[in-house]
Subunit: 282 residues, 2 copies
């Protein structure tokens, strides 16, 4: 496998940062993550736009123009020869003189095999737990996952799949996924605030609007207990049905038809995007 | 200069981590920072205890016993030959297989020259600004300084020295310092909650108690406006008088006598600790 770092593509095992880097010193950096299918990157412009926007908000400048990053990503896809993969762009605070002031940002682009949810998890749905927390600067995809990683043990102990953040019972997001419910009247709702605006979240909202009423609004834990269906979305996981929150089953404890229908629509959208890229390249 | 990393002491310019490290991937790590004077580490056991405690809370294990870390620090002090310096211990989440699950933690120990506050800043006092924020897991010295570093530009634009965090006007701490006020009746007060429990904070509380009433309690921004004196404490900065908060001068806008008296007492305590170490080593 190959990685882009320090302005060149090198074997992945040679991708190092000096410990003066502000990611190591102070956890300062942003990133983004997209996937490839059949060797083509999905919704690349959406992810790139968010990546540059995150950098901008954190007062960092990506040292390469978007066209150059696109070219690097295509070179990595060719060299690494992984059909289905995850591609991660990280922009760190750079080599700091005093361990606090940012330096010239370091841009790293890596590619990896994907770990997808299992068929069983999609077919049966998953359990989630809740935790009172709001991320710093939630609309920015910073590298700060202290609380998320700190909660890994609690998730395991609870036999849960993931942890949903809330503030005084108003829910927001998972560490790495967005959250949706389907109300009894089939309205599809996702939290409007204190979330990272996921690309899959955006695509699901668009797809759902073809068939249902959709809302970006407020969801309380009580609303989840009263929901017909619930699911999470992410780039890697697409859509995973949620059937239990803490010790309470949602509705009958089975994944719902709206959830599965949206998953089919999302996979069709991805296939359409790949087909479009294939025809453009040929 | 030399750095301890990957179980050995190497020239500082050769201290690298692979980009799979969870500090780079997810900002996951803890650290601690102490200083040396005349070649002796000050209050080393206090800092070590906090470092191991931070690691423990974050579900990480320091790969070396405290006695071994003490020995490494003394080796670094000898090799680097810096009389007055800062020593930083960083423990990262380690090399992660999937960019999220922690690996075996990486321990890094570095030594640097110190940047102290200027004589002018101590003599005249400094201006601070305020920002509504609370750190994640504030009692733990994690490497997450996203908000602090994000605020560097705002501090500069305001011609301020530092930024004091508050939640709905109840103040807590600076990104890297603790906060104190001296009330009109000479009571010395520092916030009890949502703070990192600084070693200098602890020493100042002890010293102040010899001469004044001391309190760990709640301080509001209004309380600061009504204070007689205010100051910040940190390992590097010791005690720096604060004479202005946002656009309001505190009392007469001059540093106060209690502040300076505590600074003299703190420097005497440091000198006593160094003298004690010198006599123990000889």
């Amino acid at each position: 496998m190959y990685t882009y770092i320090h302005d060149e593509i090198v074997p992945a095992e040679k991708a190092f940062l000096h410990v003066r880097d502000l990611s190591i010193q102070r956890g300062y950096g942003v990133f983004d993550f997209l996937k490839t299918q059949d060797g083509y990157p999905l919704f690349l412009i959406d992810y790139l736009t968010r990546f540059y926007n995150s950098a901008d908000i954190m007062h960092m400048s990506v040292p390469r123009r978007p066209e150059e990053v696109i070219s690097i990503i295509h070179q990595l896809i060719k060299k690494n020869n992984l059909a289905d993969s995850g591609i991660k762009m990280i922009l760190t605070g750079g080599y700091s003189e005093d361990g606090y002031q940012p330096g010239k940002p370091n841009l790293i682009i890596t590619q990896h095999p994907l770990t997808l949810p299992s068929e069983d998890q999609i077919r049966k749905g998953v359990k989630i737990i809740t935790h009172d927390h709001v991320r710093d600067l939630p609309a920015v995809k910073t590298i700060n996952y202290s609380t998320g990683i700190w909660l890994i043990d609690k998730i395991k102990e609870s036999n849960a799949y993931d942890v949903l953040y809330h503030q005084k019972s108003i829910v927001s997001e998972f560490p790495r996924c967005n959250f949706f419910i389907v109300k009894k009247d089939n309205t599809v709702v996702t939290p409007a605030d204190y979330v990272l605006y996921g690309i899959t979240r955006k695509n699901v909202l668009t797809l759902a609007a073809h068939k249902h009423k959709v809302e970006e609004g407020i969801i309380t834990i009580e609303d989840i207990y009263n929901a017909k269906e619930a699911f999470l979305t992410s780039t890697t996981k697409r859509i995973v049905p949620i059937v239990q929150i803490n010790n309470t089953y949602i509705n009958d404890g089975e994944p719902g038809t709206v959830t599965f229908s949206l998953l089919r629509d999302l996979m069709a959208l991805e296939a359409k995007e790949i087909a479009h890229q294939k025809s453009s390249y040929n």
